[in-house]
């Protein structure tokens, strides 16, 4: 099974949202659940990034790359970044992978690599 992360398109005005929200940000007219989920594209441009050294305790690594990416459909997403020398504006490609492991659960999210 291919794992996907979904954006939500308003059935009233077509505005695309990520993450999910109950009321469309643009038209504010939709009824409950009037959104169509759409898998997020994987290609995008790196908007900004950081290397985080003060990590939450569940991450047993020395540093964690994080970034905001603008995907090819214009939706932005925050994700982990595994790029040697990240630069604002570079092309990246996302994979849905485990981004956090706790005692009984794995959490999946978008991890970006150099395209």
């Amino acid at each position: 099974m291919k794992r996907e992360i979904y954006a939500y398109r308003c059935r009233r005005c077509g505005e695309l949202h990520y993450p999910y929200r109950m009321v469309c940000r643009k038209c504010r007219e939709n009824d409950h659940n009037e959104f169509d989920p759409e898998p997020l594209p994987r290609e995008g441009i790196l908007v900004t990034h950081t290397d985080l050294y003060a990590l939450p305790a569940v991450f047993e690594i020395r540093k964690l790359g994080l970034g905001i990416v603008e995907l090819s459909n214009g939706v932005r997403i925050t994700g982990q970044l595994r790029v040697e020398e990240p630069k604002i504006g570079m092309k990246v490609r996302g994979e849905v992978e485990v981004v956090r492991s706790e005692m009984y659960s794995d959490y999946y999210g978008m991890v970006f690599y150099e395209a």
Binding site: L52, A54, L64, L66, I68, R100, G109
Partner: protein
């Protein structure tokens, strides 16, 4: 609406405090009661973010009311992330302005050093979006790091400008006996010296250790009253003349222009409009410098300097004590410390102290109008205030 006055102020030391959270919240109220001579508090507002999670204490407002023997006065807890303090002052303001109460106490407290720094950082990180931010390991420093990178790229802010904020605010804190950080630093020492990579390592690049506020314990309180009550205390009159609040998208990545802090702009404009003042009327400001970049950007969004030029004002020394618009003369979050729930109230404490003309060797001469900005989330909930001396 009735006019609302800050009749009494109180604060604890900001550092590591070995007292129960309820006492850290109660002590500054006691100080504010002594300061104003007021004993009959009709209602108590308590601001706190982490009591339930970090200190295993919920229902804090009732505990504080009883500790102060204020029963049967009403009391409630206000949790609004790092803007809890500002929100609590706003609730107190509305209670007096509406005529519902004549005398209310607003206190804020946090005891975060009961746990280690990682747990304290995680407490604050729980305010990020649970599935679109938090699961990735996003913390407030990481959001600030990404924001700083973009701001440097677009406006030419450098790590030296950031260091200048830290140097300035820690220098100011040396004049504040209640400030957490009592250490003078220099730009050379934390950026250029051979020791810089060890004494000032990256936390969330490009932000370094000295760009981040400390994790502090502490409490601060104000007593808000009607004009008649404030006049009767005989203390200098300080009016809480404007309150503004605004929210923004939960996820930082959803903002149209991620270098803008729209909630700061809107909350500041709202507070100034209510008070009938312009940014140029403000004589002294307390901004939410949880990270050095935030002082620079908030000073722009509040309208004190044009967008993208806050760092130039810093270079000119405008924001230093003695400059055109001194910012964070208390030391700010960077120097005074950041016990989350207390911060918004500590800002109002400092401005009231300044407008009374009682701030001693950190007094801003002739200060008549003051401004505060309490920044919650990463800019998704901001409370600003304007105070005026009479």
């Amino acid at each position: 609406m009735r006019e609302v006055y800050v009749a009494g102020i109180g604060i604890t030391s900001f550092s590591r405090l070995e007292f129960p959270l309820s006492e850290i919240a109660a002590y500054p109220v006691m100080m504010a009661m002594k300061d104003s001579g007021l004993k009959d508090i009709e209602h108590l507002y308590v601001a706190n973010m982490g009591g339930g999670r970090v200190n295993h204490q919920t229902g804090l407002a009732s505990a504080v009311a009883d500790t102060l023997s204020l029963t049967p006065s009403g009391a409630e807890l206000i949790e609004n992330g790092p803007a809890s303090g500002g929100s609590a002052v706003k609730q107190g303001f509305m209670a007096v302005a509406s005529g519902m109460h004549n005398v209310v106490a607003v206190t804020g407290a946090e005891r975060m050093r009961e746990v280690n720094n990682l747990e304290a950082t995680d407490l604050v990180a729980t305010l990020t979006h649970p599935i679109a931010e938090y699961i990735y390991g996003v913390t407030l420093p990481s959001l600030a790091g990404m924001f700083t990178r973009l701001y440097m790229d677009r406006y030419g802010v450098t790590d030296r400008h950031l260091a200048m904020v830290a140097v300035k605010n820690q220098r100011h804190a040396l004049r504040n006996e209640f400030a957490h950080i009592q250490q003078e630093i220099t730009v050379e020492g934390i950026l250029d010296s051979p020791e810089a990579m060890t004494n000032n390592p990256y936390v969330a690049a490009p932000l370094r250790f000295f760009d981040c506020c400390p994790v502090s314990d502490g409490g601060a309180a104000v007593i808000l009253t009607s004009r008649e009550v404030a006049e009767a205390t005989g203390r200098p009159l300080v009016r809480l003349s404007g309150v503004g609040q605004a929210s923004d998208t939960h996820c930082v990545h959803e903002r149209e222009d991620p270098t803008e802090l729209l909630a700061v702009r809107r909350a500041a404009a709202g507070a100034m409009e209510m008070a009938g003042v312009e940014p140029s009327d403000v004589d002294v400001a307390e901004l939410h410098d949880a990270f050095t970049i935030l002082e620079i950007v908030e000073s722009e969004e509040a309208g004190f300097f044009p967008k993208g030029e806050g760092h130039l004002a810093l270079e000119r020394g405008d924001t230093e004590l003695g400059g055109r618009l001194p910012i964070n003369v208390s030391g700010g979050l960077k120097g005074r410390g950041h016990p989350v729930g207390a911060t918004g109230i500590a800002q109002v404490y400092e401005i009231a102290h300044q407008l009374r003309g009682e701030a001693g060797d950190r007094q801003v001469e002739g200060a008549r109008v003051g401004f505060t900005c309490n920044f919650g989330g990463f800019g998704n909930n901001v409370v600003c205030m304007v105070l005026a001396g009479e």
